[in-house]
Amino acid sequence: MTSPYPIASILGILFASLTIAAGLIWLERRLLALWQDRYGPNRVGPFGLAQVIADAIKIFFKQDWVAPFADKPVFIIAPAIILVTVLLSFAVVPFAPGIVVSDPNIALLFFLGMSSLGAYSVVLAGWSSNNKYALLGSLRAAAQLLSYEVFMGLSVMGVVMLAGSFQLSEIVHAQRGLWFVVPQFLGFILFLIAGVAETRRLPFDLPEAESELVAGFHSEYSGMKFGMFFVGEYLGVTLISAMITVLFFGGWLGPVLPPVVWFLLKMFFFISFFILLRASLPRPRFDQLMSWAWKLLLPLALLNLIVTGAVVLLLA
């Protein structure tokens, strides 16, 4: 399944994902405010929507400053990496039949590979900043992303077994009868936790940890370079929500409404859930984070894999 109009798909998805990522700044502030009994930005434009434009203008006109003690080439390239890897991952996400850039038969592996590459961005940013807090943040990021990557891959293998394919459109088609969230509920929970950790969102924002590390790996960044980390984070949230929708909630499948509307509805539900997690949960200690990953979640992912494999074998 490829798009009949590839250029239109590429431009459309690029534009839509960047717009959604920018709009999430507004959505997050409004939703956090709602759950904290406040209003959030509601002055600029209708419902404060133009706040996004105001913020973008402001960040574009800020001085593009590079710290004199930083490792300049690496410092500049680091924010680009996160944006590129996340945007590349969007290439394989099937939003609806026909609305996809590319649908290779290894799409899921491509997504996992790209999210691993994204870890370089954080690590290089912290390293090249030549700043102890940034370095601490990137150390944490490296450890966190590596350990959560492991069971993120394992948690979706149950889905792959049930669908019999790494191709995302095949996985969606395999959910015509029943969404995979029912037979793979454990896998869904594990993927959700790993997804939050992969995007470094609260409660797993230890690489940033404002209260401990100034701003973690991006302490030294300002202007649009910081903006790229910011947009990269929101793109990551969008991407993980899209992947949850594809892998566990039947992608674009749904009655009455057009497929792409169903996809966006499900995706925004999970984006809102990510924001709810931010509003409600405190940040764990770093050793707690690591022991959770290795001692609890990894064995659970393996157990899920074994049980799913056994069931698939028995039914075959």
């Binding site: 759950w35 009994d37 209003y39 709810l276 509003a279 409600s280 949960l281």
Partner: protein, 171 residues
Amino acid sequence: MLSIVETIWRVFTHAFRKRVTVLYPEEKPYLAPRYRGRIILSRDPDGGERCVACYLCAVVCPVDCIALHATEDEHGRRYPEFFRINFSRCIFCGFCEDACPTYAIQLTPDFEMSEFNRQNMVYEKEHLLISGPGKYPGYNFWNVSGVAIGGKDKGQAENEGRPVDVRSLLP
């Protein structure tokens, strides 16, 4: 584990609660009558200035934001030649109101005094004087004080007996 789920749920229920934010310019908060805001100078019920230029407010002011100079009119009534409050210094502590012996200087429930130009924060007497008596409607300092001024001699104030004649032997 369950406590985490419960936390998420409880935070979610806040979506249906009333928001505490007061949308300020459209929705004004209630200010108590004794709120300490913009400082004014009040007048007697018969329209004269209450201030007798005693300098007590200027002395008690912890940030020295009040400046005035006393003078007298033809009836011997003291009044300030100029009276200046620098509101960019004022901390709205209300000490001046406490110190004032004539209820002239009063703080009002108004805080909307923003200016683009710092110099506009300096209020002169014509900006401070209001037309009414403020919080003390019937009060007139000269009518209750024992000071003699033009048109009112000693012993002619309210609730005041005639002055004792110290040279007389009669009680």
